[in-house]
């Protein structure tokens, strides 16, 4: 993970870009399994304490070394309707897609099976 002077405020999620596709991905836990990546921000694992954040950081470092993702970092979030939403507008756009093209990006359901299209 890129060196950070200070961890972002918690709660936080881990996002990155998939190495092959460039698509924004989020660390999550599928069932009771290990950490993995999902394209659905609603499924992102929320770290509410230091131990959970450290786990995400360790996962990020391993996945960067393993050439699975690039540009991984923690983003502080608020919980809205049960889902994590980045507090900063930049990261909010990153979890949605271009604001001028609602037909593109995650807001259009790109890579998210359950999201509505269009």
């Amino acid at each position: 993970m890129a060196a950070q002077a200070k961890r972002v405020p918690l709660p936080a999620i881990l996002l990155a870009n998939d190495l092959l596709d460039g698509d924004v991905v989020f660390a999550f836990i599928d069932g009771s399994g290990p950490l993995a990546w999902t394209r659905d921000p609603a499924l992102a694992l929320v770290a509410a304490d230091d131990a959970a954040a450290e786990r995400l950081e360790a996962f990020a470092a391993a996945e960067l070394r393993g050439n699975k993702v690039v540009d991984a970092y923690l983003v502080d979030v608020a919980i809205e309707s049960g889902s994590p939403v980045p507090r900063h507008f930049r990261e909010r756009f990153k979890t949605l897609g271009p604001s001028n093209r609602p037909d593109l990006g995650k807001q259009a359901g790109d890579g998210i099976a359950s999201a509505p299209k269009g």
Binding site: D21, G22, V70, R90, S99, L104
Partner: protein, 556 residues
Amino acid sequence: MYRYDEFDERFVRERVAQFTDQVARRLDGSLTEDEFKPLRLKNGVYLQLHAYMLRIAVPYGTLNSQQLRQLALIGERYDRGYGHFTTRQNLQFNWPKLRDVPAILGLLADVEMHCIQTSGNCIRNVTADHFAGVAQDEIEDPRPTAELIRQWSSAHPEFSYLPRKFKIAVTGAEADRAVIKAHDIGLRLRRHPETHETCYEISVGGGLGRTPMIGKVVRDYLPKKDLLAYLEAIMRVYNLEGRRDNKYKARVKILVHEIGAEEFTRRVEAEFAQLDGPSINADPEEVARIAAYFAPPRYEVLPAVSNTLEAAKAANPAFARWVEVNTVPHKAPGYTALTISLKPIGQAPGDATSEQMRRVADLAERYSFDELRVTHAQNLVLPHVRQRDLYAIWQQLGEAGLATANVGLVTDIISCPGLDYCALATARSIPIAQAIQSRFADEARQREIGPLGIKISGCINACGHHHVGHIGILGLEKRGIESYQITLGGDATENAAIGEILGPGLAAEEVPDAIERIVSVYLAARSEGESFIDNVRRIGLAPFKAAFQETARAAA
């Protein structure tokens, strides 16, 4: 148009093979991201907010139909069915997958295109007047010069690792349509007053970004034959003395500013004097060979004014308005250069769908000697159109949503991609452009306002050229929200000027009101036939500042 020779072809194909191997090594883990990043950037591949971005070079903005069709195909097959034309006359795709980039580069090579030197600290794509070769005010077509510089600078071993990126623009006309004074080097072809020979006026140290500067003239009349040696002297001084300790102070404009234009010129002249010019300058035969590719097409002999066109204009006012706004006089009688606006109201400036690209390619093939141009204002140009064909072209453009009559008007907004795409941006640009377009959508009102260049950047790097906008808008982050700073009085032409800040930043939703108030001051104060920028220069900033402050107060 210039055609690749065997060397060009081999060079581009070898680069595709190299990058294909580099991508494979990245994907199998042989290369880390730190190792791979400079390699991908050398091939125009960025990682942006949502995805990778691929920047494709369009040298001096000139394309043929086959090339545009290939871009349309790539957009459809490997992207999301559209592309974005940029302020450096390039094209960017916003959603390619890394694994597909080698295939895309192969498709580009098939039509003599590539992404080389569209990124990195090297001499970038050379830009030029989009009316090159056709403008009535032109002394000489700037493209042979731009092509010569392209060939000289491509993979130049000495200038591949400069302190920072380096941008060169060339114009051959009286009017500057290439923004040469905002480039690291700006070249203007001009006649020597005594010998009447065509020479180069050379400006150095222009640039926008966090320290905007207007370029300083270092040579008034450089003989054409000395071009490459003189450029080499400039580049050598910069490469040696440009700062490498601070990327924000590394552009040549900072060097010129810090030591002064006079001292910079002295150092360049000293370097130039000791260079072996003949071994560096291009062989005159090679220069002639390049120039021959830009010879005018075989125009028909036509009357200066087309009766067919005049009749169509008389019968259709909407068509007449479009002709008035979107065409310019041409060197050849009976012809015109036509700008196709990529600024339909409410669309992202500079975006074109694959379908639209194909439509324009068809029109260029049928009506414009298979040639088109990309403008720094993010529009397209059909440079050689018979006046009598304009009505048919207008109809076909209308079917493709490309017949907007707003070139040079308030809705012809230059806008960088901003935070909707760009990883460097700190605020959005496109929605601001769209909101202003919607506010001023009425065509009659746009024409009443007249020429007015609004330029928007989503960060201090100024890809949207906001500093040289008549009205400039800079998006920034202020305490966790998007904030927009307005500047006034910038000028991108031969009267280049940097705009001045009007007041405190505004929220996004306040920007259209602020523009409205600025325009109202102009409309109330202008004299007969006075353009917006001339009015600003005549009455000064004070009345505009007062009106702007009303907006700020109303918003507080």
